[in-house]
Symmetry: C2
Subunit: 411 residues, 2 copies
């Protein structure tokens, strides 16, 4: 977390988080940058912990993403290593060696197979992770296991985040209450493509890896995959879910297991909370924008149209300026490449219908719309009028703050 940055005006307070049985956290300073803050995090997980994950679809993923993708096949995890300040992406063979060496060191310390240790790194692209610092850092974090709670871990995995982001919920499986807690980082290079920034979810539920994967993928498709800050998909997007099994509920092995629906609903709720926190920390954001698309030819078409609106710099700057410029919404619908008939299209800002059936609503009064845009949460609803496809996506406005942050980031 860059303490020099102004906290996002859309920030939310950090929630009260109880520990999850089977999860121990240690943080340490590897010194990836010239700073004193903790920048390496080791999470030790109880034997038998199930793991699932969704990862970036970037064609140039980081070695960490490749490593997680390969190891997810095993379904079990004993450790998680997170490095902040260096993404290790696009660093060739030396980057791959660094990730393998650091996770092997963690495995030796934990006493597990290397394939049971997962990893993610975040920070500047193109600088190989320094192997010696990485190993020394994770060794120090192991020695410190128990020194950090979820709040400390959230701060240790952050980079340009302006506030610490986490959420928690619970579900009843039979008569056992299980807890789900997630921590997340990210504020720029956010346009997850079926995956996202770095997010880590921990639960004490007993869940079979295959079902955990299925529930996570389903939750992801309606949450992390529906947010965008700047349309730029990261090389390192990673969400991992770990289920330690400490709650000793009857194992969830599929949708037919008693409590499976409740668990999946809680997981989806948690993912949505985490995803919206990332948008709330969007670089330069002053408004959270929710976009609902209905009446598209399919849910996929609705999602594409929603993301076309959410990624349009002209729509995002209009909202920043408090301008109900619905013509730009029309433009973004038109460029999405999905079926749309101008003469069937309707647009709503907040609760006010602005345009219907291809033209401005007769007697349209901009005052209530201007009032809605004056708040810090904006709702845009578009009905395509063709079918029953629907989607809901979230973004933030595009402001001078985004330019200030990104025109001088690496220097």
């Amino acid at each position: 977390m860059n303490v020099a940055m102004t906290v996002s005006p859309l920030a939310r307070p950090f929630p009260a988080l109880a520990p999850i049985a089977g999860v121990r956290i240690g943080t340490a300073t590897a010194g990836y940058k010239a700073w004193q803050r903790a920048d390496v995090t080791l999470v030790e997980l109880a034997p038998g912990t199930a793991v699932a994950g969704v990862l970036t679809r970037s064609k140039c993923p980081s070695p960490e993403v490749e490593l997680c993708r390969a190891r997810l096949a095993g379904g079990r995890a004993r450790g998680l290593v997170v490095n902040a300040g260096n993404s290790n992406a696009f660093t060739g063979l030396s980057g791959r060696e660094a990730a393998a060496t650091q996770t092997a060191a963690a495995a030796a310390l934990i006493g597990c197979a290397p394939d049971e240790v997962f990893t993610a790194s975040t920070g500047v692209i193109g600088v190989p992770l320094p192997k010696d610092k990485a190993v020394a850092g994770v060794t120090a974090a192991h020695a410190a296991l128990g020194n950090a709670d979820f709040h400390a871990a959230t701060i240790a995995i952050g980079t340009t985040d302006t506030f610490a982001k986490a959420a928690t919920t619970s579900a009843m499986i039979g008569d056992v209450r299980v807890t789900l807690t997630g921590i997340i980082k990210g504020s720029g290079m956010i346009a997850p493509d079926m995956a996202t920034m770095l997010g880590f979810i921990f639960t004490d539920a007993v869940v079979a890896p295959a079902f955990l994967q299925e529930a996570l993928a389903r939750a992801n498709s309606r949450t992390f995959s529906c947010i965008t800050v700047d349309g730029d998909t990261s090389t390192s997007d990673t969400v991992l879910a770990f289920a330690t099994g400490a709650a000793r509920n009857a194992e969830l092995s599929g949708w037919g297991s008693p409590g499976a629906d409740a668990f999946a609903a809680a997981l989806a709720d948690l993912c949505q909370q985490l995803a919206l926190l990332v948008v709330r920390d969007g670089e330069g954001a002053t408004k959270l924008i929710a976009i609902t698309v209905t009446g598209a030819e399919s849910d996929t078409a609705a999602h594409r149209i929603g993301m076309s609106i959410a990624n349009s710099p002209l729509v995002k700057t209009a909202i920043a300026g408090g301008d109900a410029n619905w013509g730009r919404v029309v433009m973004a619908v038109g460029k999405a490449g999905e079926a749309a008939e101008r003469d069937l299209l309707s647009i709503r800002f907040g609760t006010t219908e602005v345009a219907a059936r291809g033209a401005v609503v007769p007697g349209y009064d901009e005052a209530p719309v201007a009032a809605h845009l004056g708040g810090d949460e904006v709702e845009i609803a578009v009905d395509i009028g063709l079918g029953s496809g629907r989607a809901r996506v979230w973004t933030c406005d595009l402001t001078h703050g985004y330019i200030s942050i990104n025109a001088d980031y690496r220097s």
Copy 2:
């Protein structure tokens, strides 16, 4: 043209333009906004003028675009009407009626069939073109035919443009020299999808409509379709080419006609000049960025990768800040959805190789790159290392100026 705006630092002087025989121009003030400037332009074309056009692929096009698309089938034009200050897009039946009525009025004044009059409108989306003003305006412009040259016309068709943009060239067809002159407007909502902003090309060559269309489409695919300012494709993108035939060369009817290659090359050169002028007037632009992609699986893949880089706000802000942040280029290659192997990728800024085969070049010296980025024309070259597909695209940087212009445009 908004005289209150600062002229783009990348502006070019208006070229000396001779008249094109068979083309007469009149401008007038319809008063689409509360201003005194000319905002309606009528171009009268000699009988027999051939016409070709490329139009937006937006699914929500303006009535003017629909009208041009239908009338291009006839291949002949006698008039062109351009309105500035109101795009007439997304205005339902009344917008369609206004466009039909205004062009019918022009046809009656010129003495031609309504289908021989083409039209384009530019400005705010969603406000119906006021029919009475449109007819009165085009009537006044007809009465004034000859009062305007290409420079006056370029100013009359402009909106948020900060400088007047035009280009000219010539070609030899046999022993006849033909002239090609184009005028163009546009600086925001620029990401033409096989078409572009508003551009009008005039030549005195004798060209069959079908061949004019073929040559224009070919030129377009390497010029207008390869530029982007903000990734936002307009509802009204239109490029029309008119060949009056006044030069009396032997008709160009296909690629086999003597002089056809020279004419097509001149047309492509003209289109490239015009397209780059639009990028030079990109909203808030301080740097012109040329991106060359080689080694992709196909030319189409190279184009997609190039546009992914050109539309990335993180790449564009890095260039604005003079930061050689090639990691963001990697990110944009990765998110393009085309085949790319991190370990084969090479990246050049200016003439300096920065990264090769998946990692930073050993001993990389940032000084010459920083010097290159200090100029106002930046070259980025990416080699994918997989095939022989290539593309060249152009964009501009993303600056505070873009936010200032667009967060308060309509109000």
